[in-house]
Amino acid sequence: MKSPLTLVEGEGSVVIIEREGYVDRVFYEITEAPRFFEYIVRGKSPELVVDFVSRVCGLCGVSYTFLAAKAFEKCLNIEVDSDVEEFREILHLAERVKSHALHVFLMNLPEITKTRSFSELAERNPKVVKNAFNIISYSRKLMRVFGGRFHNVVNIKIGGVYFTPSRDDVEKLRNEINGIFKSLTELADIILSFKSSIHLAISKPQLCVYAEKSYSHHGEKVVLDNAIYTTEAFYRNIVNVVQKEYSTALQYRVKGSESFIVGPVSRFNRYYDRLHSEVKDLLNTYNWRPPLSVFEGYIARIAELYDALLTIREYLENYKYRDIVSVKNTVEYKSANNVCEYAVEAPRGVLYHRYVLGKDCKIVECDIVTPTAQNLAVMEDIATQLTRGKRALEETIAIAKSVAIAFDPCISCSVHTLPVKVINFNKQS
């Protein structure tokens, strides 16, 4: 049985493998065509790659660009001014706001409110829609002022940024932000009072970027449950890319077997304490605290959205305009280390890039591990766990779809997930 996935970013289908009329396994078939970014960047200069990789994903291009810049800065020994670094972090948080807003309001809300689509919801409760669009529009303005546009921002480069917005532009954003908090809390009241119909105790390992003091954001280390690894150790030794028994889907599993979770739920469960107290107070009102299950990702997203907006507000209020006299566009490369790697918490979870530079400082090898690719194994495991042995009916598909929506796979960015070939067992419909 097969059904296209909707309400997710990108193209894929749910495939249910049945045995004797009962569900045996669930797969997510990725029909999104691969774009071979790892190949494309070969032979290119790092400064081009920073802009190219933004095109992996229309939702989280800043994560890609920021991460690539960070990776190259580290291996090329390029110092970044701390003000500039803070500016880029704000731009990255703006993206978190944008992505979570689009996800929660466009993909989760219809499910929460049991409407077929957003337009149906608009008919039923225009205020909800207005609030949601207020936040989406505001995130767009943030992205435009700090990055140039809603996606594929043009402001990040190796060594810093190209431009800092004028005080006037920042002031306009600051003037608007309190209205946005109002929209957000009104929406939060609806969303936080919703309880997922699927109850699942968390039992999978959870991975996020290790953060010393802040909420999980970006860095050189990751943390899997309680174990801290360098990105290199984790992605080269701990996690294995495996092929499945009856499919060729590439999946990331710890030590070759255990699937793990990346994304807002992982971050929330681990770094809940580091959220702003306003966020925790709001969550308390509705009795939300860690651990959240993967079906409660919308809670983690609302928390992160709120938290990010609070950080952004502090930044806007204390904005020190500094004219960043543009450093020459071409950076002098003095390769210190030919391997460049780094990790960023993209909206959907840990994103990891690894580049190997040749003597001429052009890329000879690249590996991009996306959040969605890492989550695919756990998505299938959970979907299978929830449906195995049940009759393969529409409801079963619905559950499998809910798992997908809960994980918010951004399939467009599945840089390397292989399309699944379904092996037919008897009676597969």
Partner: protein, 254 residues
């Protein structure tokens, strides 16, 4: 209400998000009924509609069939963005042999069922209107939707990024900063975004398709190389964002 389909081929969903942005305008929502848009709508089958917006390029047989079927069900098809118009960044894979490309990433390349080409939308179906950009400018889409609802289309103005740059009162990046800028040969629409941010245009809206010849591109590239810019980088950028056009112009070199 005008019925609309929104579909995605090989691409990043960035242009689709601009469609979502357009739908945040209540006057547009009042006039358009989106009936297929898997990203935000729990509907998995396409049905007849007046308009279709297509993001992405064609890289699988399935997409080609899907697109042809979709075309037969709509009256007016709009190609959105660099992927749909030029092939998109993914076209850079065409620099290598497809089997080698697969091998560099996948352990089981035989399962990767994709075309050896990257096809822009207009190479498979008729395109009635195109909005360029990587991603497209959401405001251009809003303008299109408003004008279409009034019964017309935006009046075409063929310009380069320079036009928008000068109208925004930005001194030329090449002339003052000696920075590389592809503005003089790149189609307008972004509002001179990069020059506003103090960097040269990197051509993500695509080469202009009018007035352009190999000689003219070379004239600009020669000029930029004088500014100590890596010619290889410039060509890689032109291929990445203007594959369809630039690869054709490049061929005519021999």
């Amino acid at each position: 209400m005008i019925r609309v389909l929104v579909a995605k081929l090989t691409s990043c969903s960035g242009c689709l998000n601009e469609v979502i942005y357009a739908l945040t305008h209540s006057d547009i929502r009042a006039k358009y009924n989106v009936t297929y848009f898997t990203e935000v709508l729990n509907v998995d089958k396409i049905s007849n509609a007046e308009l279709a917006f297509i993001e992405g390029s064609i890289t699988t047989k399935h997409q080609e069939e899907f697109l042809k079927n979709l075309r037969s069900q709509v009256e007016f098809l709009i190609a959105l963005g660099t992927c749909a118009l030029m092939g998109g960044v993914q076209s850079l894979r065409l620099e290598g042999n497809i089997e080698d490309v697969k091998k560099t990433i996948y352990p089981e390349p035989r399962y990767i069922d994709i075309l050896s080409e990257v096809k822009p939308v207009d190479s498979v179906v008729k395109v009635d209107f195109a909005i360029p950009g990587c991603p497209i400018n959401g405001d251009a889409l809003v303008s299109f939707l408003r004008k279409y609802a009034l019964g017309g289309l935006p009046v075409a103005i063929y310009e380069t990024v320079c036009s928008e740059c000068k109208r925004k009162n930005i001194p030329c990046i090449i002339v003052t900063q000696k920075s590389p800028c592809l503005g003089p040969i790149t189609i307008s629409g972004c509002g001179a975004l990069c020059p506003q941010f103090g960097r040269g245009c990197y051509g993500c809206y695509g080469l202009k398709f009018f007035d352009i010849t190999r000689e003219k591109i070379n004239a600009l590239l020669d000029r930029l190389v004088e500014l100590k810019v890596d010619e290889g980088n410039l060509k890689a950028i032109l291929l990445a964002y203007s594959f369809k056009l630039y690869s054709k112009l490049k061929e005519s070199r021999c």
